[in-house]
């Protein structure tokens, strides 16, 4: 079970959320100029990375708001949660302390762009977290 820190509601169980697929897939500037192949690529072709993946989530049982998430598809580590419409945060800046022994806990419930602090396998549970 993933513990997802909704930007509005704080940490909630994964069952309260719905997955929305890859984030940052922009609608074509001029859809009429696309040929069938390009259109099919826009509609159906998505990245399938091993590692960090930017994806959309909907807190469907709670505040019913969409948000973006950077998740590691191998370890399920949630690296960042940020609002819709904002660019993908750069994780390379944070990569250095990631290799250290410990990182300080960040309050990820209120600010949209602050990533939950995740070191090793432990997940920091903010205020109002599930048990």
């Amino acid at each position: 079970m993933l513990l997802i820190a909704c930007p509005n509601c704080g940490s909630r169980d994964e069952t309260e959320f719905h997955y929305g697929g890859q984030a940052h897939v922009a609608y074509p500037e001029n859809p009429n100029e696309l040929n069938d192949k390009e259109w099919a690529h826009f509609l159906f072709y998505r990245d399938n990375p091993k590692g960090i993946f930017a994806e959309r989530w909907l807190h469907s049982t709670g505040c019913r708001q969409w948000f973006n998430m950077l998740r590691d598809t191998v370890t399920y580590d949630i690296q960042a949660i940020y609002p819709m419409g904002t660019p993908r945060p750069d994780l390379t800046v944070r990569a250095a302390p990631e290799s250290g022994t410990a990182s300080t806990a960040a309050d990820s419930t209120t600010t949209g762009n602050a990533a939950p602090s995740i070191s090793g396998t432990s997940t920091t549970a903010p205020k109002g977290a599930t048990k």
């Binding site: 509005n8 509601c9 704080g10 909630r12 169980d13 069952t15 309260e16 049982t61 709670g62 505040c63 019913r64 708001q65 205020k127 109002g128 977290a129 599930t130 048990k131």
Partner: protein, 211 residues
């Protein structure tokens, strides 16, 4: 409980109306354990779904009618009889007693519609959308904890707050009205299941406690 004697009439429909968990009423009474945990249905409350930007002018007008709009997740505002629950950044649920409904001589929905006016947003009469379960007693938290992943300990879930979540896999709005009393707002079609689920969760407290 509403004074039903004053609510007669309304084209004769009031008599044949039944609440989503009315068929469970005998079971709720039999399953309640006075002094430990008591469950009953508080049917037919007036509810309005409000969607409005709380920082806007129309949001201020609606806040004047309801006694404020909650600012963040968990907040509940309102007056003695009205409570406004936070469902989303611009989505709220206003709950008022049955008598406040426009069909019974009240003016709750009408005044909200009037406050919104032509401004962007919506006010919808959702009185039939959800029913209300009232769960109270020293064991009420233990009952809820069997099917709710939230931290319900008083240090984090205080009286006077409400959260949209799942109880027994049913999406509900869970409001804590007092130290040992809760209100659950499931949608009407889930009322039967949730009522029976709660009764099952309450059953162990009817037996003597094993030390």
């Amino acid at each position: 409980m509403a004074n039903t004697a004053a609510l007669t009439g309304i084209n004769g429909l009031r008599d044949i109306r039944r609440s989503p968990a009315s068929h469970l009423a005998p079971a709720l009474e039999a399953g309640s354990v006075p002094g430990k945990v008591v469950l009953n249905e508080g049917p037919f409350q007036t509810m309005a779904g409000i969607r409005v930007d709380p920082r806007s002018e129309e949001g201020a007008r609606i806040a004047a009618v309801t006694g404020g709009l909650p600012a963040r997740c968990g907040d509940v505002t309102g007056t003695d009889s009205i409570s406004v629950l936070w469902l989303g950044p611009s989505e709220f649920m206003a709950v008022a007693p049955e008598q406040a409904h426009d069909s019974l001589g009240g003016n709750f929905i009408g005044s909200l519609v009037e406050a919104l006016g032509e401004a962007p947003g919506q006010v919808v009469d959702l009185s039939a959308n959800r029913t209300t379960f009232e769960l109270s007693g020293p064991r009420a938290r233990a009952v809820l904890e069997k099917g709710c992943a939230l931290d319900l300990h008083p240090r984090s879930f205080t009286a006077g707050t409400a959260l949209a979540t799942e109880v027994g896999n049913i999406p509900v709005v869970l409001q804590k009205t007092g130290e040992e009393s809760y209100r659950l707002f499931p949608r009407a079609s889930f009322a039967d299941f949730l009522g029976r689920w709660l009764l099952d969760a309450m059953r162990e407290y009817a037996s003597p406690e094993v030390p």
